[in-house]
Symmetry: C2
Subunit: 348 residues, 2 copies
């Protein structure tokens, strides 16, 4: 993450650089600012392009991820971006810049993990680039996907009076990370903390290391035409809701009692003596999908997901008004949610 | 560059991971191992994908490149990869991981340079990713190009008895870099070297900072069907010739007197008291095209390039035999050329 608001910086660097008409003539349907770009490929299909970068010491460390996990997750994050457009992932390019601490054997393991993910999602690895680096490893994966022409699901399609849904529980990845960092610090220093972080359950560690992008859910939403907007939860529920709210010009109200809290997360949070809500709202990298749909289609949507054996939680609704995100607590009290995303290893 | 042989490492990490038949069924025409990958996009066209990464302290430093140059060159290197397949560049994705030393103002300048290059080659910037980094800047650009279906020019098409050509002079970028590093060291330390490096002429600095990929030459070669193999000179003439020799299973013999030595490079090398041949053979980043063609088409090829106002130098020929690269000196003495590429800032 960047210290300042990443999105306003990117806007400042890239906005109004190339005329919209020119981009459109060049076949660009969706440019910078969504989970993936969409470009006309053939009369019946658009191609989707996503790129995601993982940086050592920023997104992972030796104590949080195995070498295989780094490769797996670098591709999985991109698969999730394609899923968030309703697309099918196809081809990947992998760029690595390698510091001396990453031996050829470690890199082999990284690629083991990456190809494991590629096999699982049917992705062909078609190219890449390899360079050295002075200190930290950087893995940058570009993923090409495909979607029916003109039908990629954007962030900007939500309108007031719709339901807000999510395709799985959130906060698990952040809970797992919390546990791994806490346990590691205690082990490293040899001094148990005043309140020692208990070791995290395997399911939370797995959620952090081996996310399972919602490709099937994304396709279902696109094919059945249910989702008016869609985003993947990479930076945290609040931050992703903000993106939809701003892109669509709506207010999003989440209902705290409806947020999907997994049993193992609740119990681990209790062990740690922390409120899991922080992880659920601001912990990223769950790679479930957050979207909106017409209220009239709620029952059908629920039935569809149930029949496919996929989870779906309706967690709030959209309202007219300034772009913003709110949380209604159990007691009915409404408070605004910050736009901030998740900072993996907060520095200073 | 990596300390060991980059290509054998990449092979070890990626080879035989995915069955050829499966890749082919997934529409992959050219996978890992050429300048760009090629994938079926529509009945009449293939799409090309290339990715190139520039790492601070490995590919550039403050004293060798302005911030604008870094952005320009990161895209230009990819444009050259597409040119080397005979393709047309279309869409780019830009991933940056940003250390504290790169302020938003510096990043703005980097994007100024990148969009300058995009404008020059008609490339639409459609997406990207932005993360922070602990120390060094990494810019990774993915470029999508297009080419007539099944016609991308590979490295593997050379056969014995063909001519070897290059589409411009080589060694200029390395000469410019040598000059900038030499001058900077002298300036930094305050102690003039025993043999002080004179400041490099502007044309060599420009060659290093603002390379001009041979898109027009690549298209001409594809449209007229002249090139049996093609590669861009990113790692150095010897290294690129080795790639063609190995991929095609031929021996390549370069003729020293025919190598295109630019006047300003010859005169600067004399000033520095060095032999420019090292720069010409092993200095990379000239981004001209190196290729092979039938002997019978030599006159036609020369006439075509002359009529288009483009440079073309016939610098050697292919022979039957084990894959290898040789240099015939003026006196007719033949010596083998190393496979090594260029190490920007050799360490230890």
């Amino acid at each position: 993450m960047l210290p300042l608001d990443e999105f306003s910086l990117i806007r400042a660097w890239t906005e109004r650089r190339q005329p919209k008409e020119w981009l459109s003539a060049a076949g660009v349907r969706i440019g910078i600012g969504d989970d993936a770009a969409a470009v006309e490929a053939a009369p019946d299909k658009d191609w989707l392009f996503a790129v995601d970068t993982m940086v050592e010491e920023v997104h992972f460390r030796d104590e949080t991820m195995t070498d295989e996990d780094v490769g797996y997750k670098a591709l999985a994050a991109n698969v999730s971006d394609i899923a968030a457009m309703g697309g099918v992932p196809l081809h990947a390019l992998v760029s690595v810049s390698i510091p001396p601490s990453w031996t050829p054997e470690r890199m082999k393991r990284l690629f083991d993990g990456l190809y494991d993910c590629a096999g699982r999602y049917g992705v062909a690895v078609v190219g890449g680039d390899t360079t050295s680096a002075p200190r930290h490893l950087v893995v940058s994966v570009t993923l090409v996907g495909v979607v029916e022409q003109g039908r990629a699901i954007r962030r900007s399609g939500a309108s007031p009076g719709q339901i807000v849904f999510v395709t799985g529980p959130v906060g698990l990845s952040a809970g797992g990370l919390h546990g791994m960092l806490g346990s590691a610090s205690a082990a490293e220093t040899g001094i148990p903390r005043a309140k020692k972080t208990p070791p995290p359950p395997k399911s939370l560690v797995q959620a952090h290391r081996r996310p399972a992008p919602s490709v099937k859910a994304g396709r279902l939403l696109l094919e059945q035409g249910f989702a008016s907007s869609l985003n993947d939860v990479s930076d945290g529920l609040a931050s992703e809701a903000w993106e939809i709210a701003e892109a669509s010009g709506v207010s999003i109200v989440l209902k705290e009692p409806r947020l999907p809290l997994a049993g193992e997360l609740a119990s681990y949070a209790r062990h740690c003596g922390v409120d899991p809500l922080e992880w659920m709202l601001y912990g990223g990298e769950d790679y479930v999908l957050l979207g909106t749909a017409d209220k009239s289609s709620e029952a059908e949507l629920r039935a569809l997901f149930r029949s496919e054996g996929l989870p779906l939680f309706v967690i709030g609704e959209t309202e007219a008004g300034d772009a913003g995100v709110w949380l209604d607590s159990e007691g009915g009290k409404r408070k605004p949610l910050d736009k901030r995303g998740y900072n993996h290893f907060a520095r200073g």
